[in-house]
């Protein structure tokens, strides 16, 4: 009975002809976090674990850390002849660094220059996503289509206690066999500068004399008036001026323009924004502590802030010769310090000037 | 009288009042200078207690620095001079003097006097050489009449 009716239905469907196919337009969600993103913060709770057991957990963690430290860089095994050659169009991976302070160096002609110290802490490649698979979040209506698509290289820095973060976040690092890192950052790289996950990145990834771009968050100054935020002059302190010494004054005219024009400089929150400082010169590199000395004190953020270092994109300051590509492999007996030729090392004799 | 003074000087009022940082000692319009050469006009002006007054600083900032040319009003005349010592804070290894010193020159850069009786900074040597052009004024004559460099 049932089968009979079914057959009828099937036959009637067979007679149908499909001319047009309509599909409903599908809009991608506006905000979509990158798919390697996992919530990191964990709500700490009272665990009622005895001191001995806490020590035991600590011990296991230390063992894992040791295991991680004993991992060899997979890069050593790569055959150098097979690896792709560097050309000016390739984009290399960058580094995650921490700003640790400023101090002066002296140049060979006796001038004092202030430098910023950037420490590259414990950087490891966590994951590589090839260009075909990489589909980042769309934030703008019109997307710039790049000719040669770039891959995504995930780099982490500063190992942390896994019990302070969520399990999902720790899972990101399992592939590379690492404990979780405090900071994760994605670098867009050309496919030939692929680095296998688990590779440590050193400060010698850059050379002295190179120029880099530094991306960091500026100091948070809170809600500020126009004088501090935009450098307005304010109004006179006297001469009949009342209650308007530090105010912006007029912000527009009447008529058709009787509104606030977009982009008018007004009071508001100042700082705590991502900014890129381009073309910073590297003066000195310490290989033992992985510290980079850069010229100038304009790197955004306070002491202890994180920053991201890239090869510069300024056309006149780009690399002209091949840098360490894809990165500098770990070598045992590097010299402790590299100095730019303009810098006077402290180990050398005092500067003397010759009579012309 | 005394009471009003005390109430005026109440630290609460002062603490939120004007700032009390040290003065900059800059050479700008209408600041007084000390003539340190032995030109006649300079010597007389200093002796009478009417030191020259700056009426123009020939640079973009209108704040004088070592080696800058200034126009001064001295004894009712306008004369040009070169700053050879500054009171304001100087960078490392550049001497700072207790007074703002000036040497009077004419339009060609020739000093009016023939001796400078205070030390002048060595950096002046480089600055004046840079400022001297082959067709313009020759300021290096000033270095020749200096007695001492620090």
């Amino acid at each position: 009975m049932v089968t009979g009716s079914l057959n009828l239905l099937r036959n009637s469907f067979n007679k149908l002809r499909i001319d047009h196919i309509f599909s409903r337009s599908f809009q991608t969600p506006r905000y979509r976090p990158p798919y390697w993103y996992e919530p990191k913060e964990r709500v700490p709770s009272e665990e009622f674990i005895t001191q001995e057991n806490k020590q035991f957990i600590e011990e296991v963690m230390q063992d894992k850390l040791q295991q991680q430290a004993s991992l060899h860089s997979p890069l050593v095994n790569i055959d150098s002849s097979k690896a792709a050659e560097w050309n000016p169009q390739t984009r290399r991976v960058g580094l995650i660094a921490r700003k640790i302070g400023n101090y002066p160096l002296w140049t060979k002609d006796g001038k004092k220059v202030l430098t910023t110290l950037l420490q590259v802490v414990d950087n490891h490649v966590i994951r590589y996503i090839p260009p075909e698979e990489f589909s980042p979040m769309v934030t703008k209506k019109y997307v710039w289509k790049e000719k040669n698509k770039l891959g995504c290289l995930l780099v982490g820095s500063e190992t942390i206690d896994p019990s302070t973060v969520t399990k999902e976040y720790c899972g990101l690092f399992n592939n590379a066999g690492m404990l979780p890192k405090r900071h994760l950052f994605r670098f867009m790289v050309s496919p030939e500068s692929y680095i296998p996950p688990g590779t440590p990145l050193q400060a010698t990834h850059f050379r002295v004399g190179d120029y880099i771009d530094v991306r960091a968050k500026t100091m948070d100054r809170g809600f500020q008036g126009v004088i501090k935020r935009w450098g307005f002059k304010g109004m006179p302190a006297s001469h009949g001026v009342t209650k308007t010494h530090r105010r912006p004054g007029n912000i527009g005219s009447g008529g058709e323009k009787a509104r606030v024009w977009p982009g008018t400089k007004m009071p508001g929150h100042m700082g705590n924004r991502w900014r890129i400082l381009r073309g910073v010169k590297i003066l000195r590199i310490n290989t033992k502590h992985n510290v980079i000395w850069t010229l100038g004190v304009a790197i955004p953020g306070e002491t202890g802030a994180m920053c991201y270092l890239f090869d510069t994109i300024l056309p006149l300051k780009k690399h002209t010769t091949s840098p360490a590509f894809p990165t500098q492999p770990f070598v045992e007996d590097l010299p402790l310090e590299y100095y730019d030729e303009s810098v006077q090392p402290f180990e050398e004799q005092s500067i003397t000037f010759e009579e012309n | 009288m005394f009471k009003s003074l005390v109430s005026k000087l109440n630290p609460v009022q002062l603490s939120c009042g004007f700032h009390t940082t040290a003065c900059m000692n800059e050479v700008r319009l209408l600041s007084r200078l000390r003539v340190v050469d032995n030109s006649e006009i300079g010597k007389r002006a200093m002796a009478e207690g009417k030191p020259p007054k700056v009426i123009c600083v020939y640079n973009k900032k209108h704040v004088g620095y070592i080696g800058d040319r200034v126009l001064v009003a001295i004894k009712g005349q306008k004369k040009k001079g070169i700053l050879v010592g500054m009171k304001q804070k100087q960078s490392v290894k550049v001497p700072k003097f207790d007074s703002n010193n000036v040497v009077l020159i004419d339009d060609n850069g020739t000093p009016l006097g023939n001796r400078i009786h205070v030390p002048i900074p060595t950096i002046l040597r480089t600055i004046l050489k840079e400022k001297t052009h082959s067709k313009g004024a020759d300021y290096t004559k000033l270095l020749a009449i200096a007695t001492r460099f620090v």
Binding site: F48, N53, F56, V60 | -
Partner: protein, 202 residues
């Protein structure tokens, strides 16, 4: 960059210190602030546990810690320390308590001398953050009810068992390694024996 002051030596506090002091709004300015804190520090030394606004508690805590550490470092025969104690403790019998009770109490300790616990907030209406400031080792019942050392809770039993298992496996591994090393060394030696044979073959 400023040079550190070398004329005085201070011992390190075991608490977090903000980079800058709090002003503690007061019409009398810095003097009024210090007066306020003097009262709080005196109260703390006297009652050993007080409840007050968080900001003031945190400031007063720093001064109390400093006072006790100075007292421990210099003892009661040091004139400037005595002066300081005299300034900070408004009730003079407390000076005696500071040097004779608190100094022996904290002399060998490795922890901070005070504890700051934020108090529960008022549910409705405007509230300021409240805190409880207390000296360690006070005679009152404990505010925080930690029962962390119960070995019989299930998580502790499980972890303890896991610990023993882990240690056992480690020992086994080491034993294995020693055995293997012995073997490998044997292997090596055997290889070494083999090596000289090759030239003879060639």
């Amino acid at each position: 960059m400023n040079q550190a002051d070398v004329s005085k030596l201070v011992s390190k506090l075991r608490i977090n210190v903000l980079p800058k002091h709090r002003n503690l709004n007061n019409p009398k300015g810095p003097e009024g602030r210090i007066d306020k804190l003097r009262k709080t520090v005196t109260g703390l030394i006297k009652f050993e546990r007080i409840e007050l606004n968080y900001n003031r508690a945190d400031e007063a805590r720093q001064y109390a810690e400093r006072l006790i550490s100075e007292a421990i470092r210099h003892g009661d025969c040091h004139k400037p320390t005595m002066d300081t104690a005299n300034f900070w403790l408004l009730e003079k019998e407390l000076i005696h308590k500071l040097f004779k009770v608190l100094v022996p109490r904290y002399e060998a300790t490795n922890l901070s001398y005070t504890r700051l616990i934020s108090a529960p907030q008022q549910q409705y209406g405007r509230h300021t953050d409240k805190a409880v400031l207390e000296l360690r080792g006070n005679p009152f019942p404990d505010l925080m009810n930690y029962k962390t050392n119960n070995k019989l809770l299930i998580q502790n039993v499980l972890l303890d068992a896991a610990k023993q298992d882990y240690k056992q496996s480690k020992i086994n591994e080491i034993a294995n390694n020693i055995g293997k090393k012995g073997n490998s060394s044997l292997d090596k030696s055997s290889k070494n024996i083999e090596v000289p044979e090759k030239p003879t073959e060639s």
